[in-house]
Subunit: 86 residues, 2 copies
């Protein structure tokens, strides 16, 4: 069954306390050279049918209403993964 | 400055209550045809220097220790984004 990955990130103008916490933890743990970190979400959706235009349009609408909060987040990418063993 | 994206997903054998909640919310909202959902994390790291082998090795180590919990999560991908306007 095809899998679709939806990538959601906080909008650039929105503060991202999780990302900030990670960014300040990195040097404490000895990882230098990272200027900033933003943390978002990655959803893997397994489809029951083919990843055709209708399915992707439905997923885009779901991504923009259920998977992300459009006030503070952007759907940055929707990608169809190769079907394994298909 | 180059940006590196780290993708983290719950291991396949680990229950994913967030993903399950999303999967059961989809049909209630009229989105049919999604068999299952897994929810993971996406980190965007902005580097202070070039994305060379040393920087990527450091990021891989950080990804496997700080950005993910290796008991329940896998680092599924580390990708270098094109430098914008470079």
């Amino acid at each position: 069954m095809p899998r679709v990955v939806v990538h959601v990130m906080p909008k650039p103008e929105i503060l991202d306390p999780q990302g900030k916490a990670v960014a300040s933890a990195l040097p404490r743990l000895g990882f230098e050279g990272v200027a900033s970190v933003r943390q978002g979400k990655r959803f893997e959706l397994e489809l029951a049918g083919p990843a055709d235009d209708a399915a992707l349009a439905m997923i885009r609408q779901a991504a923009e209403t259920l998977l992300s909060n459009p006030v503070i987040e952007d759907v940055v990418q929707i990608e169809v993964l190769e079907e394994e063993g298909a």
